[in-house]
């Protein structure tokens, strides 16, 4: 395994939506080239924390943050941060597969084109590599010009992963990526994540505890905006230190 270091350091981090505090004083380190899962019941702030990591919360005008969110030791909420560059390096895959209503090729080439890559041969290469990495190439190589929306749900989600990979990100944030998919597509994506983790850091929010247990190295449990427990996935699931964590993972609430 590749040596790990802290790629994200989250320090005393808070997020508010208007008067409502969604994330409360969270301290958390994300290791590079590992899968970190964030679990917790609905409304616990796990998605908010994830979306704070590439500043997607900026889109919500009432949101504000305090504390530090360090990416490579640079506070991404500093006013000098280039949010565009941040989002290229820290990609995101959403709960509902959301390919653009354009061709498979155009979907994957979207990011590179934004960055001014125009040469057809270069784009072809990027698109092919990204689709191979997303384990979708074999299924779509003969229909690259078909609409991305004509694919099945699982294929669409892998297309979204390929779209993110085409940017050569360092981190990909997954916001419940399989909750809209059937079990077979889910298994496919889980295998894919374990393959991707060799080259990309993965943070995944999930309310499927088995999924967190199956694929992640580290697990963070959040409840009512607070980080209750964080540690090795094995430890969290076999021997949780906190009573709340134990109750949640044994299904006594959630």
């Amino acid at each position: 395994m590749v040596e790990e270091k802290n790629i994200f350091e989250i320090k005393n981090f808070n997020v508010w939506y208007g008067d409502f505090q969604a994330v409360k004083d969270v301290n958390l380190n994300i290791s590079s080239n590992r899968i970190t899962a964030i679990i917790g019941p609905s409304g616990c702030g796990k998605s908010t924390l994830l979306r704070a990591m590439n500043r997607m919360n900026d889109l919500i005008t009432s949101s504000r943050t305090s504390g530090q969110m360090l990416f490579h030791n640079i506070d991404i909420y500093d006013k000098n941060t280039d949010v565009i560059e941040l989002r290229r390096r820290v990609g995101m895959v959403f709960q509902k597969p959301n390919p653009f209503p354009s061709s498979v090729y155009e979907n994957v080439a979207y990011g590179p084109k934004l960055r001014g890559i125009k040469k057809k041969s270069a784009l072809d290469e990027i698109v092919e590599q990204a689709l191979i990495k997303a384990d979708l190439w074999k299924e779509v190589k003969d229909k690259l010009n078909d609409s991305g929306l004509s694919l099945s749900g699982g294929q669409m989600q892998r297309l979204c992963i390929a779209r993110s990979l085409a940017q050569q990100p360092e981190v990909i944030l997954f916001d419940e990526p399989t909750s809209a998919l059937d079990p077979i597509s889910t298994a496919h994506i889980e295998n894919l994540l374990q393959e991707l983790q060799k080259t990309v850091t993965i943070v995944i929010v999930t309310h499927n505890m088995q999924q967190a247990a199956r694929i992640s190295h580290y697990t963070a449990f959040m409840y009512l905006g607070e980080l209750i427990e964080f540690g090795n996935t094995d430890t969290i699931f076999v021997n949780p230190a906190n009573k709340l964590t134990e109750e949640y993972i044994t299904g006594r609430f959630g």
Partner: protein, 299 residues
């Protein structure tokens, strides 16, 4: 009491529907009125068709009027309306779409937005003859365009602007939030997102609005009466600063002015028929486009 009576009756008698005259009367009244729109359209169409179809011929739509407009075709009239409409759309679509982008994507709720919206609604309610007078004062006289294709198109453009803005805004707002989110997560700027994702996705809707707007514009008389329309011109204008003939104005002229009002009745109805066909064809095109995009929409 009614209920108690019913309860005591055997079921097969109690459930028997009573003929209710009052109810029947109102039901048939509502049914008839419900079809009033369709009936009116049918009456107008058949009336115009009955009175105008005998003048229809290939020559009627390809040749200019002759003999003080009592004979011949209406080619320059049709061309005038087409040119007015096209130039109007060329002028209004960029302005309307940019305004709609501002309203849908950039504006923040507040006094500013409210006053812009109020202005658009008010503009939509202004009678078309007022636009005609405004065009006369500003484009024809002040800017010295004269009675011309350009002045008429600009007047029509101002009249149709609120409609184009609101249909475009609706189309832009119908673009799913998840598309914007996906684009921004790819590291696109807000403008790149609008230009490459939002606008292309909304384009069919914007075009549908524009086509329906075209149908409205091509039938207007009052805005072009003082600004663009000529009583007679022999052919297609050579520049945008020349006046043009136009279908609605031509009907008005033939039906009210001159000494041959009765003689030219068939031409009047023929012209009206051409105008109606153009407007209906545009509307149909708009409706087909809308249905097509609704079917194609997979999100």
């Amino acid at each position: 009491m009614h209920t108690i009576e019913n309860m005591n009756k055997p079921f097969e008698l109690a459930c028997k529907r009573k003929l209710n005259i009052k109810q029947g009367f109102f039901l048939s009244l509502i049914r008839t009125l419900g079809f009033s729109g369709a009936i009116t359209l049918f009456l107008i169409l058949s009336f115009v068709f009955y009175n105008g179809f005998q003048v229809l011929s290939w020559e009627f739509i390809t040749e200019p009027p002759i003999d003080a407009m009592t004979k011949g075709g209406i080619f320059p009239v049709i061309m005038g309306t087409i040119l007015l409409t096209i130039l109007c759309m060329v002028l209004v679509i960029p302005v309307g779409v940019i305004t709609a982008i501002f309203l849908a994507e950039y504006s923040k709720p507040g006094v500013m937005l409210k006053s812009v919206m109020m202005s658009i609604y008010t503009l939509a309610g202004v009678p078309s003859v007022v636009f005609g007078l405004f065009g006369l004062g500003v484009f024809v006289v002040m800017l010295n365009f004269g009675t011309s294709l350009l002045a008429g198109s600009m007047t029509l453009a101002i009249m149709i602007l609120p409609y184009i803005i609101s249909t475009s805004e609706e189309a832009l707002k119908a673009v799913p939030y998840s598309f914007k989110e996906a684009s921004l997560a790819c590291g696109a700027t807000k403008w790149q997102t609008i230009w490459k994702v939002v606008l292309p996705t909304a384009m069919p809707g914007i075009l549908t609005g524009a086509i329906l707007g075209t149908a409205k514009v091509s039938g207007e008389t009052a805005p072009i009466m003082f600004t663009a329309a000529a009583f007679f011109s022999p052919g297609v204008p050579r520049s945008v600063f020349e006046p043009v003939m136009a279908l609605p104005y031509h009907i008005y002229v033939l039906a009210t002015a001159g000494t041959h009002i009765e003689e030219t009745r068939p031409i009047q109805y023929g012209t009206a028929l051409v105008l109606i066909v153009i407007v209906l064809a545009m509307n149909l095109l708009g409706i087909i486009l809308r249905l097509k995009q609704r079917k194609k929409r997979a999100w």
